[in-house]
């Protein structure tokens, strides 16, 4: 189910390459600076690295590598839209994409599965339904190769 204009609602429209078609075809979007080459997620008024306003749109890679990670053990404060009542702890990672940007993301995997350097892949998914009952899309990443044997680690 889409919004009235035939497009998906999202958590932030400028993060996504398109708001139409199969979810598997939607990618993260951003800009690349024409002066220094620095990428960004979403649209920015100027390059955060060199301050140049000369930017071109870019679509970011689906595949990346896990730079580091943590786990959110308690329900995040405020208007959290993930699994709630009961809250389900979830891993969070800093995902390095080949364009040269690391993106903070929810990880769709077991709490003990993340490892520094593991291959991961984008997953555009329905985070929640808005007041009109339409799905609101967000992004997360999951291991490129699902683990078959994960042990709880400290």
């Amino acid at each position: 189910m889409l919004t009235a204009n035939g497009q998906y609602a999202t958590i932030r429209d400028d993060f996504f390459s398109t708001r139409e078609g199969p979810l598997a075809d939607i990618r993260l979007a951003g800009t690349i600076c024409n002066a220094c080459g620095e990428p960004s997620l979403g649209t920015v008024p100027a390059c955060q690295n060199c301050q140049s306003p000369d930017l071109r749109p870019a679509t970011l890679s689906r595949e990346g590598e896990l730079f580091s990670y943590t786990v959110v053990r308690n329900r995040p404060p405020g208007d959290y839209k993930g699994p709630d009542n009961p809250f389900v702890p979830f891993p969070v990672g800093l995902v390095e994409l080949p364009e040269g940007i690391r993106v903070l993301s929810v990880l769709d995997c077991a709490l003990d599965e993340p490892r520094v350097g593991m291959a991961i892949v984008l997953d555009v998914y329905e985070l929640y339904r808005n007041e009109e009952g339409a799905p609101v899309l967000s992004y997360r990443f999951r291991p490129a190769t699902p683990s078959t044997n994960s042990e709880e680690q400290r």
Binding site: N49, V71, D79, S105, S138
Partner: protein
């Protein structure tokens, strides 16, 4: 520019004071600092109030109780570095010759638990759950462990040290020792950071009275020199709340390194000259990282300083003799000025059981949301 001196300091205990308004806590800290400086309120030419979670014109509401003298009183906010940002403004006014005296007050009364995420995050960050303040520290900690072999035990030992120091600090929220096992077995908040290694937002106030060398003799015979004081915001891209991306191509110096660099140059000292330090310990890893960025050791070797006792009282670089924010709690507007209170006590030799023998030079450091960082070096 001319030298700036601290003539007096005051503090209201950090903790929870449900029935006490911020106007009273702030007033007590300011009054104590003025009494310590032997300076009448009518001599104060300029005042700043550092606070983040309090209403408009908090400084006027607090200090106006002492009488309306017509001076400029301005509230300042720079997240966890608010107190440092306010101190910089007052020091510049005196160093430039524009003013001879100034009072800097920090005060806070924060809600319990996680801070209101709307102060710091966009809607989508709250909805996805990427809005917990320890996340960037936790992710940095995990990477530090991966790259440098830092262990959960080393991080926990910093919490044990700070709690041990707090036992002798009546102004700390928690004055209680915890064993390494108790810290390591406390519930995880954001792995590897657990509950007993993290600071609590709370309430409290601290104040500093500053003056020029021209008038110092009128107020005190033991002035402490503000040898350097700077506030900076991190360069692209320092991973802190509320950022959600970091560059993998560009690496700039950490904001603590940049701020310390500016202060070391102004003070004509280096990290080797510092006798006692109060540093930001939002969590225990945050303190470990600060050892490296302040220059107490090379990058990656922070864990060694807790293992070999360097940063304990009795070591060559004692850190957080007050118990740190882990023990005191973090009333963000007041935290840096609370650190200044501790360093001044150390340099005066009045820190009691926490005293670092012969301390002559002390450093205070805060860092937080938005990449805000402040560093102050004091000399006797």
């Amino acid at each position: 520019m001319r030298p700036v001196y601290i003539a007096g300091v005051g503090i209201h205990k950090f903790g929870r004071f449900d029935d006490k308004p911020y106007t009273q806590m702030g007033l007590e800290a300011a009054t104590m600092a003025l009494a310590d400086a032997k300076m009448p309120w009518s001599d104060v030419e300029l005042a700043y109030c550092a606070r983040m979670y309090l209403p408009a014109t908090s400084g006027v509401k607090i200090l106006g109780q002492l009488g309306r003298t017509g001076i400029s009183i301005v509230d300042i906010e720079a997240a966890c570095a608010s107190g440092g940002a306010a101190l910089v403004q007052a020091c510049m006014a005196i160093a430039s010759g524009a003013k001879d005296t100034a009072l800097v007050l920090g005060v806070e009364k924060m809600p319990r638990g996680f801070m209101d995420p709307r102060q710091l995050y966009e809607d989508w960050q709250i909805k996805t759950g990427l809005s917990q303040n320890p996340i960037p520290w936790a992710i940095r900690a995990r990477r530090h462990m991966h790259e440098h072999g830092t262990t959960a035990e080393q991080i926990a030992k910093i919490s044990v040290k700070n709690h041990r120091n707090s036992v002798h600090n009546p102004n700390a929220m928690y004055q209680k020792e915890f064993s390494l096992e108790q810290v390591l077995n406390s519930p995880l908040v954001n792995d590897p950071i657990n509950l007993f290694s993290i600071c609590a937002p709370n309430e409290g106030a601290a104040a500093v009275v500053l003056c020029s060398g021209d008038v110092a003799a009128k107020y005190t015979d033991a002035p402490i020199e503000v040898a350097g004081c700077a506030h900076k915001v991190a360069l692209y891209t320092h991973f802190s709340v509320p950022l959600y991306t970091v560059s993998a191509r560009v690496e700039n110096p950490h904001v603590t390194q940049l701020t310390c660099g500016e202060v070391y140059e102004a003070a004509g000292i280096g990290p080797e000259d510092i006798d006692v330090l109060e540093v930001q310990d939002t969590d225990a890893f945050c303190e470990l990282e600060a050892y490296e960025h302040i220059g107490l050791c090379p990058i990656g070797e922070g864990g060694r300083l807790i293992d070999d006792g360097t940063v304990a009282i009795g070591g060559s670089k004692p850190v957080n003799t007050s118990g740190g924010l882990i023990s005191k709690g973090e009333p963000v507007g007041a935290s840096h000025l609370g650190q200044i209170h501790e360093i001044v006590s150390q340099l005066r030799g009045t820190a009691g059981a926490r005293q670092v023998e012969g301390a002559k030079v002390g450093l205070a450091h805060v860092i937080g949301a938005g990449g805000n960082c402040a560093v102050t070096v004091l000399k006797r």
